[in-house]
C-alpha cells in the first residue's frame, strides 16, 4: 500500500529514508553508529519542530490522515472487550457509527463512535464517517440503554459531517440530531466525548453532548468545514481559501481550549497519532480512565447540573444598558 504523505512531512520522510539506508547498509563501519544516533535525534527534533508549528489547515490534513487511528482501532487497542450492538430499530444499521458494550479496566461502558474507514472498501461501506439519521437514532437508543443500566458512555467523534443526501433529508437528518442534542443533555449517566479526528459540525455534535468534551492534539472541531466556509466566503474552495478559512474558523484544539469549549487537549505521539497507534491509544486510555473515575461518584442530580452549566456558559457577548435600543 502506498503510504499517504502529507506535503509538510516531506523532510521527515526524506530523513527517515536516509536513516533506513544507513541502518541497513553500514554494519560494523566505524563512525556509522554515531551518525545514526545523530540522525535519529535530528529526526525527532524535526518532527517536534514541524508538529508544533502546524498551520490550522495542516492540522485538518493530519486529522484526516487515512492512517490516523479510528474508533475501530481504539476498540482493539484500548478496550478489553467489545460487544457490538447493531441497528436503530427503525431503518437499519448505519456503519458510520458503531455502538456497543465495552470493558475498560474495571469499567463497563457503552461505546459510541464514528468510523470513517481506512481503505476504499471500508470507506464506502461507512460513507467516510458521514452518518444518516438512523446512525444518530442508533446512537441514542444505545445511550438510553446505557443510562437504564447505569453504564457510562464514551463517544469518539470523527466525522466530516452528517451525510448530506436525499435519503438523509427524507428520513429526518435535522430531526434526529436535534433529538440527540436534547436527550443527551438529560441522560442520567456520565458521558465522555473525545474528538479523535474530525469534528464536523452538527454531525459531530449529534454525539457530542457530555460531561467531558476533549480533543486529541491534532483533531479539529468546527461549525463548518474549511471547504464549505471557503466556498461561501470566497466563492471557490482552493488551497489558498481553504487554508484561510481553516485559520479564520479557529478550529484547532488550542483554539477550542482558549474559547472554553473543551476540557483537555490530549497529547499525540511525536509526529501525530498516525505514526504510533499504540502510544496514542495508551494516552487516550489514561484520559478516559481519569474521566470515568472523576465522574463515577457523582450523584445524578449534580452530574446533570454540571452538564447543564458546562454548555450554559458557552458563548461570548456583552450586556449594554437597555437605553441603546
Amino acid at each position: 500500500m502506498v503510504q499517504h504523505r502529507l506535503p509538510f512531512e516531506k523532510e521527515i520522510y526524506d530523513m527517515e529514508e536516509l536513516l533506513a539506508r544507513l541502518e541497513s547498509s553500514g554494519d560494523g563501519q566505524l563512525g556509522r553508529s554515531d551518525e545514526i544516533r545523530r540522525i535519529r535525534r535530528d529526526l525527532a527534533n524535526l518532527k517536534r519542530m514541524i508538529y508544533s508549528n502546524l498551520s490550522p489547515w495542516d492540522t485538518v490534513l493530519v486529522a484526516r490522515h487515512p492512517d490516523r487511528p479510528q474508533t475501530v482501532d481504539y476498540i482493539n487497542l484500548i478496550f478489553e472487550e467489545f460487544v457490538e450492538l447493531h441497528g436503530d430499530r427503525a431503518i437499519g444499521d448505519d456503519r458510520a457509527i458503531r455502538t456497543g458494550f465495552a470493558r475498560l479496566g474495571d469499567f463497563r461502558v457503552m461505546l459510541v463512535g464514528h468510523q470513517k474507514g481506512h481503505d476504499w472498501k471500508e470507506r464506502s461501506e461507512c460513507l467516510f464517517g458521514c452518518a444518516h439519521p438512523e446512525g444518530y437514532r442508533k446512537a441514542l437508543n444505545k445511550m438510553r440503554l446505557a443510562a437504564k443500566f447505569r453504564l457510562p458512555i464514551i463517544c469518539l467523534i470523527d466525522t466530516p459531517g452528517a451525510y448530506p443526501g436525499i435519503g438523509a433529508e427524507e428520513r429526518g437528518q435535522a430531526q434526529l440530531i436535534a433529538t440527540n442534542l436534547l436527550e443527551m443533555s438529560q441522560l442520567p449517566t456520565p458521558i465522555i466525548c473525545v474528538v479523535i479526528g474530525e469534528g464536523g459540525s452538527g454531525g459531530a455534535l449529534g454525539i457530542g453532548i457530555g460531561d467531558r468534551v476533549s480533543m486529541l492534539e491534532h483533531a479539529y472541531y468546527s461549525v463548518i468545514s474549511p471547504e464549505g466556509c471557503a466556498g461561501i466566503l470566497w466563492r471557490v474552495a482552493n488551497d489558498e481559501t481553504k487554508a484561510r478559512a481553516a485559520a479564520a474558523l479557529k478550529m484547532t484544539a488550542k483554539d477550542l481550549a482558549r474559547l472554553g469549549v473543551i476540557d483537555d487537549i490530549i497529547p499525540e505521539p511525536l509526529g501525530g497519532a498516525h505514526r504510533d497507534h499504540a502510544e496514542m491509544a495508551n494516552t487516550l486510555k489514561t484520559y478516559l480512565m481519569r474521566y470515568l473515575r472523576e465522574l463515577r461518584g457523582l450523584p445524578v442530580d449534580e452530574l446533570l447540573e454540571q452538564r447543564y452549566q458546562k454548555f450554559r456558559r458557552m458563548g461570548v457577548f456583552v450586556e449594554e444598558p437597555a437605553s441603546a435600543t
Binding site: 433529508e169 442534542l181 466556509c229 478550529m251
Partner: protein, 274 residues
Amino acid sequence: MATGSMPERKRGVPEGLWLRCPQCKSTIFRKEAESRFNVCPECDYHFYVSARERIRQLLDADSFEEWFTELRSCDPLGFIDRKPYAQRLEDERAKTGMIDAAVVGRGYIRGRPVVLGVTDFAFMAGSMGSVVGEKLTRSVEEALRLKLPLIFVSGSGGGARMQEGILSLMQMAKVSAALGRYDRAGGLYISILTNPTMGGVAASFALQGDFTFAEPGALIGFAGRRTIWNTVKLELPEKFQTSEFLLQHGFIDRIIHRKDLRTEVARIIDYCEY
C-alpha cells in the same frame, strides 16, 4: 450548516407600491399583501415578515414585553471575510434596525400568556451566534420559571453563525439543554417553522418542540441543496425540503396558513391546559 454572508436577496417584501410574487409571478398591490399577513392574494405564497411584524400578527395588540435587549454580539474570533464581523454587525444593525437576529419576550395570544422568541432572516440570514443562543436560552429558562407556554418562530437560512465559529455550534447545545430541562419539567413548547429553517437551527431548537408547525412552502432541512447536489449528483425530488415534504415524511404536525397561526396556537395551548 453555518451561514453568514448569503447573497443579498429575500430581504423581505421589496420596497415600492407594487411587488411581484415569486411563486405565481403576478404583480400585486403591496398594501393588499400587507393586509393579508404578507401572503399573496393570488396563490397564498408566504412572503418574508420581520420579527416585529410577526409579533404583531401573533400576539394580542400591544401585549409584547421585550426581554434581554441589552445583549450584544462581539467578535470573539476576530473573524474577517469580505469585511470584519464587527463591521458586518454594524451594517446589519443599520440595515434592519435590529440589534441581532432574535427577538424574545412575553405577551398574550388571545388572552393566554406566553413566552415568544422569533428569529429574523433579515439579520445575517437569521443565523445563531452567541446572542441569539443566549436570548433563546434565557427565554426558555424564564418560561420554565414562570410556567408559561413557549413559542419559537424560526427563520434561518443556515443555522449556526459561521463568523462565531465553534461558539455558534455550541449555542445549539446550550439551547437544547435548556429545552431539555423545560421538557422534563412538563413545559409546553410549540415550534413554528418559517421560510427558511435550515442547518443548525433545524438541527436544534426548531425541531425540539412538543408540536412542530410550519407555514406553507417553507424551506426546511439540514444540508443545503447545493451541498446535497454536489454529494449525490442526482436530481432532487420535487418539493424537496419544503413544509409539504416534511409533513409527508412525518416530521411536522401541521402546515398552517399564516392567518390561522394565532388561533391554532391558542387551541393547542387550551388542549394542553398549560
